[in-house]
């Protein structure tokens, strides 16, 4: 039984890129502030429900190399998403299960075995100030999370008092875990400036296998090793840049795919730059965005063109899956 009202977590080692994230902020993209929030939203919701939180509570997103955390109070935690085995005082624990941790215990993580981002939820949810409607960290704008940045050694985090008695050993069913494979399909609705591609490039983009480049972060994922894409020759419109991949600067949808110079496609994610002067050729459908956040450099993707009808069907399937999650872990 937790006795303290708040649980203090001390950051002994921050890990590679650990930040506070929730379901993100809405309504500020028009001034360049992107949604932010956990890249794998389903895993965030699952981790929260496992420890008895409301599913949109703030948690820690741990990328590739997990942090080392010293707990100063008894509480309940859960790790979902990437397979990074949590260890309490050196003893391996299960992923996707609610775990009790005692004051004075240290939480560490094994090297990532699959996926890229683990979500660590703490009973009550991480207590940082709400900025523009969210606790999510947006590092480029230095807002949200802890002082608008990733965690650092020596940081101290508090959590809200758990509003709901979490149960130890609650497990996330296997079919409700984000799939973690080294090679995946990403469904894309072609559009935006897709018509600017030559017929051949419009085809090869979907034929080729694309490999995640080292430049893959919360802003965007860069892919390489597919054939270079050609844009149709034209007299560039007034105000667009000289390169045929340039347009008059415009907004970028989250999930949109741009190809600067025709060379390496970049998919924008939840910390996206909100706009710019590169032609976008389509958008990864919302149902597949979580999968991108679990890709490591050198993982492979095949882009599959889908229709709006298929996109909406996938959206309905994702909503149904979320309902199953709430039923499985509901209170």
């Amino acid at each position: 039984m937790p006795t303290d009202k708040t649980c203090v977590i001390e950051v002994v080692k921050p890990g590679l890129a650990t930040s506070v994230q929730d379901t993100g902020r809405q309504g500020y993209y028009y001034v360049g502030i992107p949604p932010s929030g956990a890249l794998d939203q389903f895993s965030l919701r699952a981790a929260n429900l496992l420890v008895g939180n409301s599913e949109d509570a703030a948690a820690l997103e741990c990328t590739l190399l997990g942090p080392q955390l010293l707990f100063h109070a008894d509480t309940m935690i859960a790790v979902t998403g990437a397979e990074m085995t949590p260890k309490i005082d050196g003893v391996a624990q299960a992923c996707n299960v609610s775990l009790r941790i005692k004051a004075g215990s240290t939480l560490t993580f094994d090297h990532v075995k699959a996926g890229a981002r683990a979500c660590l939820a703490v009973a009550g949810g991480i207590d940082v100030p709400v900025v523009l409607g969210s606790r999510s960290t947006y590092t480029l704008g230095a807002i949200g999370g802890l002082e608008g940045r990733r965690l650092q050694k020596g940081d101290r985090l508090t959590s809200f008092a758990p509003g709901h008695q979490a149960k130890e050993g609650l497990e996330l069913p296997a079919d409700l875990r984000t799939p973690l494979a080294k090679e995946i399909e990403l469904r894309v609705l072609p559009g935006l400036y897709h018509h600017r591609l030559t017929d051949e490039s419009a085809r090869t983009f979907f034929d080729d296998t694309w490999v995640v480049a080292p430049e893959a972060d919360r802003i965007g994922y860069r892919y390489k090793q597919g054939r270079a894409l050609q844009f149709r020759e034209r007299v560039q419109p007034f105000g667009a840049g000289a390169d045929p991949s340039n347009i008059v600067d415009a907004c970028y949808p989250i999930g949109s795919i741009q190809v600067p110079g025709g060379l390496e496609p970049i998919i924008l994610h939840r910390d996206a730059v909100s706009g710019g002067g590169y032609a976008t050729i389509g958008t990864v459908i919302s149902a597949d965005m979580d999968l991108i956040g679990q890709m490591q450099p050198n993982h492979r993707a095949h882009f599959v063109a889908v229709s709006m009808e298929q996109t909406l069907a996938a959206r309905r399937a994702a909503s149904a899956r979320l309902l199953r999650l709430r039923e499985a872990l509901g209170r």
Binding site: Y29, D249, P253, L312
Partner: protein, 291 residues
């Protein structure tokens, strides 16, 4: 202008007013997005005006994609050609042109530039047919600019100068983007001016710096107290060249939390502007200077 509608996945609709940048395209987008805002449509979560386009984020579980598309077309037909009047504000932005910080940065990234042997200002003056850097600065600061889009990163304004196309300053972006740009750099790429709201990567030519913060999560200055982002699409900006002494004094005021921007409300009427842009711009300057 042939408007093009296209979906960005299941949650975004992107509307290209025109492939070319023009004040007409910007105003048409402004009129449509303001009307959409006014209608307060259920399911519409973000309305983002851009230079010659706009983007709407929506929840397809609340409003079907085709329903929203039809609504946007309807609004276009209704307001697209209506006379445009804009209740907005004019802002004076002081600029130290040719400053030491952007100069240090542009020298550091010289091998990424089209013309490694001259500075960004010298290059921009030459390719725009202006004989001196001073003549370029006079053109840059002589006529006001519309904020036609805010974004890329938090609070960064894209600006389009309110002059005939033949007088628009055009400068290509760097050949390869820099990994660094000083905070509050006044930049230019294509036909757009910008102010870098935060330090970071960038590809625009660098002409100077302003001492005036335009994005501050801590909201220390009076004009940032309501919202951490200063600029909104539709704002009008007039650059004012300042010397080093004035710049240093302004920076000291920023640090003391007493710095103010000169901002005046103004009504912009497109038809009057089009009749005589230079005379109209002079009248805008008078609004700004009136006490």
């Amino acid at each position: 202008m042939s408007v093009r509608y296209t979906f960005g996945g299941d949650e975004f609709i992107f509307v290209e007013i025109s492939e070319d940048m023009s004040l007409d395209a910007f105003f048409k987008g402004t009129a449509i997005t303001r009307e959409l805002q006014r209608r307060n449509v259920a399911g519409v979560t973000e309305i983002c005006p851009a230079n010659a386009s706009y983007q709407v984020r929506y929840d397809p579980d609340v409003i079907a994609p085709e329903t929203l598309l039809a609504l946007l077309k309807e609004i276009d037909a209704e307001v697209g050609d209506a006379p445009l009047e804009l209740e907005t504000r004019i802002v004076e932005v002081p600029v130290l042109y040719n400053d030491p910080w952007t100069h240090e940065t542009l020298m550091r990234f010289r091998e990424r530039h089209q013309d490694p042997s001259s500075t960004d200002l010298e290059y921009a003056a030459r390719i725009n047919g202006l004989s001196t850097v001073d003549a370029f600065i006079a053109a840059h600061s002589g006529a006001p600019w519309f904020v036609s889009m805010v974004g890329f990163v938090a609070g960064l304004p894209f600006m389009f100068q309110m002059v005939e196309r033949s007088r628009q300053l055009e400068v290509p972006k760097y050949l390869r983007p820099r990994t660094d740009t000083p905070k509050l750099t006044v930049g230019h790429g294509g036909c757009f001016g910008c102010i870098y709201s935060v330090r970071g990567a960038g590809g625009y030519q660098m002409f100077g710096v302003t001492p005036a913060p335009i994005f501050d999560p801590v909201q220390r200055l009076s004009y940032l107290r309501d919202f951490m982002v200063f600029f909104k699409p539709g704002d009008i900006v007039k650059f004012k060249p300042i010397d080093r002494e004035t710049y240093d004094r302004a920076v000291a005021e920023v640090e003391a939390g007493t710095f103010e921007l000169r901002v005046k409300p103004v009504k912009f009427v497109l038809s009057e502007f089009k009749r005589d842009p230079d005379a109209y711009n002079r009248s805008l300057a008078e609004v700004l200077d009136a006490d």
